[in-house]
């Protein structure tokens, strides 16, 4: 019987499930597009992972992170629910113990995490500006008709510089169209876009901060070697892209879950068979006060498992009856 731990990262663009053994070695990883349906994505992810792992495993713990971390925890039963920033920091420290800077660019947000002597020392997170995120690159790749996987390697083929305004997704896009109409090479434009993104990231998040090497680049966008190169040129140092760069959040959550289970002695995970359960969500607008909170009711196998979304706690604080809890 193999003893394993699971880490789950439910993000806006991707849902990642990873498996680790007791010695923090990654055994398997899974990267699925969330496509706006976190529940389905997670169910599918866990189901696939279950069949890949086979029968002979015992799950000792599970941790969740990402913007859908609370949802995932309600679905699966989690030992720890951790914000993305801490989870990414923990994962990076596990791979490069003396890391000083983490650049993380995901689908919907980007972060910078500064570490000193093995602890997080400062961080910044951007969710307002689309120009610094993976979704923007996705969209541009689609517009140019290039698979996103080839985007980075095309940028490396560029021979001359085309400067693209990276401050804002709208400006960047119109600037790019303009450069296309002038007849510039596609490679050069793609390279310009990568540079613009790196520049925007450093201006936006790195402002006033000291970015010391070793620098780790992680998140979905780290797979793009064009952006990696742009960062290396701007920062003048080597950028480390870890092997599991796109699932680092899940790795962090997994490590933290392991520590938590060690402290508490047992796991809250509901078991791999939970992938076969049905999950249902209903929402309604509470009309008790003018806040009109949108309350979400979450059902696991037809049983009410949790409620959230209210400001006052009228719905979320009420204990769901014991009977329901047992059935669930």
């Amino acid at each position: 019987m193999k003893e394993i731990y699971l880490g789950v990262d439910v993000g806006s663009v991707s849902t990642n499930v990873i498996v680790m053994d007791s010695d923090n070695n990654v055994i398997d990883t899974l990267y699925i597009r969330t496509k706006g349906k976190p529940i389905e994505a997670l169910k599918m992810g866990l189901g696939q992972m279950k069949s890949r792992l086979g029968e002979n495993v015992k799950v000792l713990g599970l941790g969740t992170t990402g913007s859908g971390r609370h949802l995932a925890a309600t679905m699966l039963g989690a030992d720890i629910v951790k914000n993305e920033i801490t989870a990414h920091g923990v994962a990076a420290l596990n791979i490069v113990p003396n890391v000083n800077t983490i650049i993380e660019i995901g689908g919907q947000d980007s972060k910078i995490i500064l570490l000193r002597d093995g602890i997080i020392y400062d961080f910044a997170m951007n969710t307002v500006c689309a120009a610094g995120t993976g979704s923007f690159l996705d969209r541009q790749a689609e517009r140019l008709g290039i698979p996103i996987q080839e985007f980075g390697s095309l940028a490396l083929k560029s021979k001359s510089t085309v400067r693209i305004a990276g401050r804002c997704a709208v400006f960047a896009e119109s600037d790019m169209i303009h450069k296309q109409q002038l007849g510039h090479n596609q490679e050069d434009i793609i390279n310009g876009l990568c540079e613009a993104m790196a520049r925007n990231y450093l201006n936006n998040l790195g402002k006033g901060k000291e970015l010391k090497p070793p620098v780790i680049f992680q998140g979905g966008v780290a797979a793009n070697i064009g952006i990696k190169k742009a960062f290396e040129e701007l920062l003048g140092c080597e950028i480390i892209v870890p092997k599991y760069a796109s699932v680092m959040g899940a790795i962090g959550a997994c490590i933290l879950a392991k520590e938590e289970v060690k402290k508490r002695g047992k796991t809250k995970f509901l078991g791999l068979n939970i992938a076969d359960s049905s999950f249902n969500v209903q929402s309604f607008e509470c009309d008790s006060c003018p806040n009109m909170c949108e309350v979400v009711k979450f059902y696991r196998d037809e049983n009410l498992a949790a409620r959230w979304g209210d400001k006052c706690g009228k719905w979320s604080n009420v204990q769901i009856s014991q009977n329901d809890e047992k059935l669930a």
Partner: protein, 367 residues
């Protein structure tokens, strides 16, 4: 004449006391809610700061409840707040509301006009009655501030969950139902005594965080998505650097008189900001430095989107963080109703503070 006013935190309670003592009818605006914000956003200029939008929503909701006179405080501090009354006047006029708007601001020079406005609102020319009522209302305000401060300090230590909240909400309820300052002062005295009785577990490892920033965002718990309570629930003791009580005394007695506490804040800010640049930028910087001296674990700066003085203060935060060795998190608040993004940042910040503290403790044990 039915008077109304904008919300900021719990200030409606002392205001209610004041007008009840004076015998003037008031309409308390419904508690700020999503609807308030929607009404305000719809009718305010898009890029104006958030407090104006909430204020405007408060007025509209109050007018619907029968208010015909609005009292606004003015401010001479060079930030947009100084223009709030004029802009709000014009907007309400454009919307077709026929309401009287009276601006109260520190009487710089023209004392006669100030007295005329005050006696109009107070419905009396009896200066003794006005000043007595005002004095009592300020007592209510100060005691209420003290209670709020106690709540933010005690919550993370409470042995029985929600005990502090139950007591606090119960007293707010009582205050809303009582009439006049005398009854309120009694209630508040009781509340403070009962707060002291609540069982606290002082052995818990609790972090201490100071809140600085733009005054409305710091004080108003609707605007700041009740950040104090959220932090308390994460095991953090909270202190807010600004309160309505202090602001009122400051406004009435002039900033320039320079009370001892202010001088201390300005002195602390001096290496970074030497003069008032509007709003509370100087206080934000000064208080951050003071929190670091008092060995707080971290500081959170709050500001509405596009708040100019706070943006200037924010630009100084990295150097303060470095030189004073205190982590600082800046949160910019706008009309988003989703709290997830703020929660992620808060949780990560608290993790950061906790790890730092653990490390500091283990180092002192080692040496």
């Amino acid at each position: 004449m039915k008077i109304t006013f904008p919300h900021i935190g719990n200030s409606y309670i002392p205001i209610k006391a004041l007008f009840e003592d004076l015998g003037v009818e008031t309409v308390i605006p419904p508690k700020s809610s999503k609807k308030t914000l929607e009404l305000g956003t719809k009718n305010a200029p898009e890029l104006i700061c958030l407090p104006l939008k909430i204020n405007l929503g408060n007025y509209i909701e109050s007018i619907a409840k029968g208010a015909d006179t609005i009292i606004i405080t003015g401010g001479c501090g060079p930030c947009r707040f100084g223009y709030y009354c004029e802009v709000q006047k014009e907007i309400l006029k454009d919307m077709g509301y026929d309401v009287d708007i009276i601006v109260l601001e520190a009487p710089e020079g023209n004392k006669k006009e100030f007295i005329r406005r005050v006696s109009k609102i107070a419905n009396t020319k009896n200066i003794v009655k006005i000043s007595k009522s005002l004095k009592n209302a300020i007592t209510v305000l100060k005691k209420l501030n003290a209670l709020e401060e106690m709540v933010l300090k005690a919550r993370p230590y409470e042995v029985h969950e929600n005990e502090v909240d139950k007591l606090y909400n119960n007293f707010i309820d009582k205050l809303e139902k009582s009439r006049g300052s005398r009854e309120m002062i009694n209630h508040l005295n009781n509340a403070v005594e009962m707060m002291k009785e609540i069982k606290l577990d002082k052995n818990r490892e609790v972090l201490r965080v100071g809140i600085v920033g733009e005054i409305y965002a710091v004080i108003d718990d609707y605007c700041n998505f009740d950040i104090g309570k959220k932090l308390n629930k994460m095991g953090v003791e909270v202190h807010k650097s600004l309160s309505t009580g202090e602001w009122i005394t400051e406004m009435l007695l002039f900033r320039s008189m320079g009370m001892s506490k202010e001088m201390k804040i300005w002195e602390a800010a001096n290496p970074y900001i030497k003069t008032c640049i509007g709003g509370h930028a100087r206080e934000t910087v000064g208080n951050t430095v003071l929190y670091s001296k008092e060995e707080y674990d971290g500081v959170i700066q709050l500001m509405p989107f596009t708040c100019m003085p706070e943006i200037v203060a924010m630009s100084m935060m990295p150097s303060i963080q470095e030189e004073k060795n205190i982590p600082i998190l800046t949160l910019i608040i706008d009309e988003m109703t989703g709290e997830a993004g703020y929660l992620t940042r808060l949780e990560a910040f608290i993790d950061l503070l906790r790890n730092r503290k653990d490390k500091r403790i283990s180092q002192t044990v080692d040496s």
